[in-house]
Symmetry: C5
Subunit: 351 residues, 5 copies
């Protein structure tokens, strides 16, 4: 399915465009307000009911399921002071991962991989707005990536509830990267068969078409992880005021996950390259076997047929034909030649 390309030559620059597919009937919000000693959850908040992140010493996480209704998203964003460029970025789901710093917030979007039963990889854009005491996450549809995070918030497990929202951002990205690993494991399992092509069967070029599919998928994964890695490298340089210094080591952890994903992709890519070489070698090997069969059969029987042909001629004066043992001598000659040929090709290892 072709992706919808955002038209950038709009007469009205303030008319935002959603470039994705509608998955949810209605946009629904969940709001979490938490601090070291308080917790409040609004599960099915309507966008119109949301006001703002009022209390200074609380942390807020606002999660959105569905972004298909341009007006709703636009109004929501306006309430928290989001720039027009960011609003369009949230709505344009067919972008490469991007990071942009604004005066009072960060925008960060990435592609979350959705493992599927079929051979295809689907990805969904998840966008984040990180402010001083709030984090807004925009998901195209309901998904259960973040169940464990909600659990930790509610149960006050770990340190999440004691920390600022940048720690929450770390947990969300970690959950998304976890899906990349699952996808790579699936690809690794699916591509193992290419390394064990049967040497004695003529391989079908359809194998190469399939390998190409996996190469494209791995490329897609790498292209989407690389910008995340770069974004974390910026954090590592301690460039941003919105990240608590105590949390930098958690983002390091994410960078390591990115590097591991890229390493794994490259490992499988290398193995696919070798499979392609194996394919061509098996093809050539099969050709050699076929030609050796043809050559052995032809080289033995064509000369023998010639001999039979000689004594099938009808010349009146052919003395050998009248010899008593002529026929038997010819048979002897044929058997000798046959045996010599077999021995010769045997020695040459041709069969």
């Amino acid at each position: 399915m072709k992706k919808k390309r955002l038209n950038r030559k709009k007469n009205n620059p303030l008319k935002f465009v959603f470039t994705g597919t509608q998955f949810e009937k209605e946009i629904s919000l969940q709001l979490f307000e938490y601090s070291e000693d308080s917790f409040m959850e609004l599960s099915h908040l309507k966008a119109t009911d949301f006001n703002n992140f009022a209390t200074k010493n609380k942390q807020y996480w606002l999660n959105t399921h569905g972004i298909h209704d341009v007006e709703v998203i636009e109004n929501l964003c306006k309430k928290i002071g989001i720039h027009n460029l960011t609003i369009q970025d949230i709505l344009d789901v067919n972008q490469r991962p991007k990071f942009q710093e604004y005066e009072n917030y960060w925008f960060f979007s990435l592609q979350s991989i959705l493992p599927s039963e079929t051979n295809e990889i689907n990805s969904e854009q998840i966008s984040f707005i990180l402010g001083k005491n709030f984090l807004v996450s925009f998901q195209e549809r309901k998904a259960d990536y973040f169940t464990h995070i909600r659990h930790r918030l509610r149960e006050k497990t770990g340190i999440l509830h004691e920390r600022s929202v940048d720690y929450l951002l770390y947990l969300l990205i970690e959950a998304i990267l976890d899906n990349y690993f699952k996808t790579i494991d699936t690809i690794e399992t699916n591509t193992e068969k290419f390394g064990i092509i049967d040497i004695n069967e003529d391989p079908s070029p359809a194998i190469l078409k399939e390998i190409e599919v996996y190469k494209t998928q791995l490329n897609h994964l790498k292209k989407n992880v690389n910008p995340i890695k770069e974004f974390i490298t910026k954090i590592e340089r301690e460039e941003f005021a919105l990240i608590d210094k105590r949390h930098i080591k958690y983002f390091f952890e994410l960078k390591d996950l990115c590097l591991t994903i890229i390493d794994n992709c490259e490992k499988i890519e290398n193995s696919l390259s070798s499979s392609i070489e194996l394919f061509f070698s098996v093809q050539g090997h099969r050709m050699n076997q076929v030609m050796k069969t043809l050559t052995v059969v032809s080289s033995i029987f064509i000369p023998l047929t010639f001999i039979a042909g000689i004594y099938g001629m009808n010349f009146v004066n052919m003395p050998e034909l009248h010899f008593k043992w002529g026929y038997h001598i010819v048979w002897a000659v044929i058997i000798v030649i046959f045996g010599a040929m077999i021995a010769y090709f045997k020695r040459k290892n041709w069969f």
Copy 2:
């Protein structure tokens, strides 16, 4: 068509040379003068009628259709204080995109892709002069890239009329990059067929010639986008006084477009590389099938013909010929050999 190469060993360095093709009968200018609360448009201004960008607190956009008349362009440039090097750069349309900072203006040129019905890609050079309160754009011919921008100016839609001309430059580049996307979409559609080469047909090397055309086009696109990306990276480093700080995020947006274009080009390039491998595998596969056919037929009938040849010999003393069931026994032998061969090749999966 070979491009006209600028002769650089001119006796008179002040004789400028136009290296392109004349598309318009006459050079025509459009001048837009705007500010937050005023707007004035001169649609068919003659170059001789243009004076200068007088009013300090107004913004000016001067657009040129046609640059074939060296004298006209030279005079126009002189009026706004353009350096001789820049004048020649505007007139030499067969250059790689370039950016040059001068004392009181910027020069920036790029290649705009013209989508065409045929398989070819045509590009046209568009040059920009960005001054303190003016932007001059030079187009080789009339085109409708910027219609939406003129609309926004006239209707005061968006923020264009409130901002300085560097914001206008952003919109113009965005419109040009939009054409790149359209071209890439066309290439993507056209190259999809290479991934579905029929495995059971001998592929024609003409396919490789066609793939080469698309590889060259993608290379051409990347080569022309890369300098734009580098130019924006310079803006990102806030090196330039002519860019309003509030507008830097818009140029970031452009950089992202460039990166997406390059990503898309590389994706198609990778897929074309795989198609080439597929081509060679199908060629080898076809060869294998042809040879297997030959080998099966020859291996079965050449030995049988030898047997028939034996009993076609004319020896006087060939006892088998006189056996009552000799002929029938030979037939039986032939059928047994035939069946064994068929079974053997069947088991080997040769047909």
Copy 3:
């Protein structure tokens, strides 16, 4: 065997997970306390008996055999003030080498290669905690890499006992890198056979499968050495207070070992690439030889059989058949053609 992937979506972030295999029945510790003039060794210390690294002016080396018991490791780490992230890193043995600086210690993990009798490469994760006056090393199982270091400590050979624990760390890493060299030497010996493929035998594609195994192993080695090199480059920049300035030159020595390992890997990789090219050339060469045999035999005997076939026809009116020397003339013609063919193919060097 598939590696166990750490589940990162845990409801309880404080529940650590061991992702490896249990090799030892019980976790056992060795503690070395040393200074310029003292030495004390506790060989089979239980984790519960360990307290802390009390004496300021002594150096401590605590080595662990076995990390499979999560609770034991967790308690041990808590005693020396290790962060939760580090505890999980120690227990997750399927990671790329990593380095992380904490407030009062360094964490550093790498993969130690275990040479084995079979064709496989096994690696074990070794983690280090470097503090002001202590070094803790975590090994998955008992191994004899560090025998010489224990010897030096006990016998006060060299300068080890006079120096701070960062010098000890240098010796431990050196011992681990030494195993890499042994593994590379084994790979080099095993891959030499690929360069001497017999030109006159049809090579089996199984060779390519074997080459792929070695390419993957070399890639694995390089991927594990590269992070060590990068970690030492950081030391080279004198970024760390925990490294005595006098010891930096020893870490340079390690960087050189890393570079040599990478060089050796690349040398073998290049040679394997050439072996693949050799494989395909031998395959093509064999094909050429087979086809030349077929062509020579067929080109000689098919025309001769045609001649014999002519005089095997049963036309009533065939004058040649009644010539006295007809049969002998045909033989003469056959011999002349045969000789000419042989001469022709001989001159063409076809056999």
Copy 4:
């Protein structure tokens, strides 16, 4: 022709060596002395008659045709205070382009491409000494690259006579780079034929030998342009006192020329790579066609010949031979088999 390698193990380091070929009978000099309002030209100055660049407020250009006479060049260089290393660099014409800053002058050498009628590329080393008010250029032989520059000096066209000698250097390098473009245009024209290899002819490996020649030439061009680009990048960083700030934009122009040359080289290189792939695909295509012809002919006639062979046997008891229509039935069978085979191969598209 092998290049003469400079022997660096000389007993006497002050014995300079000329490593080129003598083209001119005698070394001749041209001296230009100019300023905004004066001009003086000495056309056939002998090296011994030259003194020095006396007048402070004049600019001097000293051009040398021929550098084969070591003593003459040495004396000349001594008069203007050139270091021994530079003298040897001027005389060793088989070097990669180099740039070296000295206390009171710059040394800069590059390879000038000489377009020739044959398929070969010849290059000549041109060395420059740039001082405060003088530029010395050393050419191996007379050539007409710089005619337009002499013209501009004499006629006071443009701004050359008003500017310092670094502007002159810009013009000289521009003229040399212009020759690169001419050479690339020739290569582009010559290599176009490789893209239109006839698909129905067996291509000769001689084509690959020819492609290799062009690849080597393009590589040679790139290797010689890259150092020029790097040298200009240094100027761009405004590192040098000898360059008037107003002239930096002219050197930018040169950098752009270098980048364009490299782009063009890479474009042709990519196209040559594709031609190699095309070569192999046409070779495989031809093989497929040949084998299909063989297979069709053999598969049709070998079985038919077998049938004929059957009824050529001489068994006494072969009832079919005595059937009245036996012969006609065999013909019918043969025709049916023939037709079925033709139809089968036709449907398979084998001819």
Copy 5:
């Protein structure tokens, strides 16, 4: 011959190990003491007779032939205050070139190429210790690389005797790099034959084995020159107090030699890559020629043999056999078919 690997897990770190071969019977030293106006040479100094570099205002060059006697080298090094790490580096001759700065001296080692008559490249490690007024060089065996330098010292030719020992180091490295050029020239001469493979001969895969040898050699050269280049780049940045500023331009000269060596290696590598492609194209070309021969012969004679077979059948009722001109008509048909086939294949250019 396998290289001896240094065992790094020694119980006694102070036991140094020599990893090379003994070439000289005894270690012999030459000591040169020089200054602008004095010169003293001790030709066959024993290591035990050497004391130290006493006189402050003299320069010392101590050269060693043979390093096989660990004790001798150790004692010598101790006398001039060399660190244990350096001593082991001098004795371990199987290392990549390395550079290490110590408090009061520099250590620098490189591989000197020994041109040999056979096809192999041997290299020897030469180590340098550069101090304030002394340079010690360690050679594995006697060689005549430095004859011209000794000559210059003795005869006071050039400026060597006036300068500090870093100038001497420049001359020594220059002499070693000179050997690289000689080796590359030999390789270039030896590899030229690969570009002129005979198109009409089936090429042997042994050629690829030989090409691999040269590729490995070129790689070896590049790997050994690259660290020298990097070391000089450090000097270029004026980081070292031991280098007289006046001498930096000489080290630039060396960097240029390194770059030229690398360029030359890459040029030959590219040409070898093209030779491999040429190899495969000639192989395919030969195959095409063989198959065309087979196809032409088979396609002509198999159908003709079928015709002869028809009239060799023994049906009683075969009217044609009784026609008077039957036999002649068959001959006519055969000749017509033969001629048509020849014309067809001629037109197809198959022979």
